[in-house]
Symmetry: C2
């Protein structure tokens, strides 16, 4: 499989997993709606932020990244943007957000393993503290601390996505 | 359509058009094989270069870009890589390549219109001089000089690709 094939599959998996998680928190397909905000951890060029605001138009999305590199039309308002190390900005934001997170999307793989592991280790504790009951996490990386936490369940990807490409978790409802 | 949807469509169109052009120059589906090398104009991260060497394993691929930014495993050997302004490197290469080009893939849109137009204007004359009879051009940008040139025909995209997303041209056979 070429890198072009692989890029197409990765983006299709991303879209399918975000759509799946959005359906769950909106209560489409039977379950109850989960109230709360959306966290976009890793804005990058803003592609998935743009997608999230399209598929979840009624949710407030808060965005976290080390620095701002997104297309000008894919940038959130300043009061919804937290720049800097997520290990610092997430706890800071947690104290200020109006509600816990119904959905968090993590795109935090840096291409380098030590840096990615540092990112994950810094993000997991505040994320755990911010996730609503019934809330979903969609991640490009496996999240070992989340996976081990009481009340957090791994969720299978939608059927069109290969195992191990994306990682979904959910906090059990109260 | 979100930027995520749009990125998926763009990469799918790229893959479909490269596959279509490869089929034509290989003579799959009925026509005669077109001898010659492949030119990759705009290496970027190396994604389509990686795809071209997968779908055309028997062709020599020459790569042109302003600077080298590709993944280490998507870089051609030094003797097949020409770095600098394509308006200069293409004529330089043309005098040294072993054969005319059976396929040229252009990914030269820079996101800024004046720069893209300069790129196109610099690339078209040497490209015209290097294209084999029967050779294909696949481009992310319309190529006005090529389109007006005697013996060059616009080719429709494969059926799954929307009109105006990718631009295909072919030099008539002798």
């Amino acid at each position: 499989m070429s890198r072009l094939d692989s890029a197409i599959r990765r983006l299709q998996a991303q879209r399918a997993c975000l759509g799946h998680a959005a359906d769950i928190i909106e209560g489409r397909g039977g379950g109850e709606r989960v109230d709360g905000v959306v966290l976009e951890l890793g804005l990058g060029n803003g592609r998935t932020y743009d997608h999230l605001r399209e598929i979840l138009p009624d949710r407030t999305i808060y965005v976290f990244d080390r620095q701002l590199a997104a297309h000008p039309d894919c940038r959130p308002d300043d009061d919804r943007l937290f720049l800097g190390e997520m290990a610092s900005t997430l706890p800071h934001a947690a104290a200020r957000l109006p509600a816990p997170a119904a959905l968090a999307h993590l795109d935090i793989g840096s291409g380098e393993i030590p840096e990615t592991e540092r990112n994950i280790a810094g993000v997991e504790p505040p994320l755990l503290a911010m996730l609503a009951a019934g809330g979903m996490v969609v991640s490009d990386q496996p999240l070992p601390t989340l996976a081990r936490s009481a009340g957090i369940d791994a969720v299978g990807p939608p059927p069109e996505v290969a195992d191990g490409r994306y990682f979904l978790y959910r906090r059990a409802k109260l």
